[in-house]
């Protein structure tokens, strides 16, 4: 993202906000991953213990998701997504004032 139009105090504020957002994103990534893997891998509730097939599924699901997210993140950056989206937002805000 391009914060060059902000002054030093504003840039410091935004950096702080981005750090908070990253911490939030990380916890959400984690809980989303748990939800997804649980949903896909666990369908038998005749026991409360995780079966060995279920466990293997969860481990693979986790590993694959991390590799998947990395790939999506890399492609997202290549698309210059930040710049495109902020330009889009600005043009709408400008029209609305």
């Amino acid at each position: 993202m391009d914060f060059s139009q902000l002054n030093a105090a504003e840039q410091a504020h935004m950096t702080r906000l981005i750090e908070r957002k990253q911490m939030q994103d990380f916890t959400r990534l984690f809980s989303g991953l748990v939800e997804r893997c649980f949903n896909t891998c666990c369908n038998d509730f005749t026991s409360k213990a995780l079966g060995s097939k279920e466990e293997q599924c969860v481990l693979n699901c986790t590993e694959k998701f991390l590799k998947y997210s990395e790939r999506v993140g890399a492609r997202f950056q290549e698309q210059n997504a930040g710049t495109i989206l902020s330009r889009f937002l600005s043009s709408f805000l400008r029209n609305s004032v």
């Binding site: 105090a9 504003e10 790939r71 989206l85 029209n95």
Partner: protein, 99 residues
């Protein structure tokens, strides 16, 4: 009390509330778009059998195309909305005027 960020500091050292709010909206938008992209391309491209932990060739290629296509759709939707005159104010007619 004109801002959620307190104070009305408009000096070059202080925080300009409006600039901060727009930058914040940008960050929230990018995060939101990214999270939806992650969810949507996972559903389109990743198998649910999980017999391995690696992305296989087919999945990898699908992911790359899915991201590219998603951005294409992003652009098309944005253009169409502008043609139709939707803007943040009009957007107010969805969530906004409901308040």
């Amino acid at each position: 009390m004109t801002s959620l960020f307190g104070g009305g500091a408009h000096s070059s050292q202080g925080l300009n509330p409006e600039r901060i709010e727009i930058a914040t909206a940008e960050i929230e938008m990018i995060t939101d778009v990214f999270n939806r992209l992650v969810s949507v391309c996972h559903t389109k491209c990743i198998g649910t059998r999980y017999t391995e932990g690696d992305l296989n060739k087919g999945e990898s290629v699908c992911v790359d195309r899915c991201v590219a296509k998603f951005f294409e759709v992003n652009r098309k939707v944005g253009e169409r909305m502008q043609q139709l005159g939707a803007n943040a104010q009009a957007g107010g007619s969805f969530g906004g005027s409901t308040l």
